[in-house]
Symmetry: C2
Subunit: 148 residues, 2 copies
DNA sequence: GTAATACCTAAAGCTGACTTTAGGTCAAGG
DNA sequence: CCTTGACCTAAAGTCAGCTTTAGGTATTAC
């Protein structure tokens, strides 16, 4: 059993945010003693799922809906599976997108290293769009790919 | 040369957003003819950089500062390099974090597949926290890792 | 016995990133 | 010649996700 202050420290989440989450219904079974919240292992587990769903890009109101599902037991297993599958696919997609962003950023690092050496951007710009050194060309092309 | 409507179509960005970006100073050298914006290859390139910096997690006002730097020429090469290096590191970090999220989501998919087969979560919960099938255990452990 | 600390609520406030509104210009088509 | 469509501006509005404020209770520390 933990107090809100302890959970705040453990997870590095402001107390105000934990109370906000509680108001949103993220801890449907949380107990209280004389008004004070009791975070049990149950709520800790819920919070971990909340963090996971949040970093997968799910909105607060959708997390709320998921928490409602968990209170409805076995009849929502299928829906919950579908939700996690959709989140899994979304995150896989997001990782691909970030990989392209990363390649673009690496290209830009190379670009400015060269510009610093040369004192200007003329040499580099003369190589665009397809006469860059092979490794850099790859970063550049990959970084400029359109989303699928 | 493109009109705002053409750029909007090309990039799938609302016209209102392009005008907002212009007001924020993202196209410092854009020309106009009798009030109407002329997007040249220059602005197209700027927009690509904006998109890249945005998906790296940079805020609008910081993108604005970057655009100011580009207008100050060679004296800001070092600063621009530092910015891109910082963004590169941030995105590498974000990809790692999303990889952990992804493992957690995959674990949850397995979890609900099992729950559907079993009709309840009892068998699975009896395996927690360290008696899961090896592959699943890996996803679970990795997904529960704390950020570095 | 009073002061500091950790908890509580409801409601208002804030920030970022747009988007919508209300009103206007200008060129081409029927 | 008038209406349709694509452009323009400044300013107000929206939405998510918190955070702050104002006011209160309960326990421990000196």
């Amino acid at each position: 059993m933990y107090t809100i202050g302890q959970v705040s420290e453990m997870f590095n989440i402001p107390i105000s945010t934990l109370r906000y989450y509680d108001n949103e219904g993220f801890f449907p079974n949380m107990q209280r003693h004389s008004g004070i919240r009791d975070f049990s292992e149950n709520e800790i587990a819920a919070l971990r799922i909340v963090e996971c769903l949040k970093s997968s890009g799910l909105e607060i109101k959708e997390i709320k809906q998921f928490m409602e599902m968990t209170t409805r037991g076995a009849e929502t297993y299928e829906d919950r599976l579908k939700l996690f599958e959709a989140r899994r696919d979304a995150v896989e997609n997001e990782i691909c997108k970030l990989q392209r962003t990363l390649d673009m950023l690496k290209y830009k690092c190379w670009y400015y290293e060269q510009a610093i050496k040369d004192g200007n951007e003329d040499n580099i710009n003369a190589m665009l769009p397809d006469k860059l050194p092979p490794k850099i060309q790859k970063l550049y092309d990959n970084g400029n790919q359109k989303a699928v």
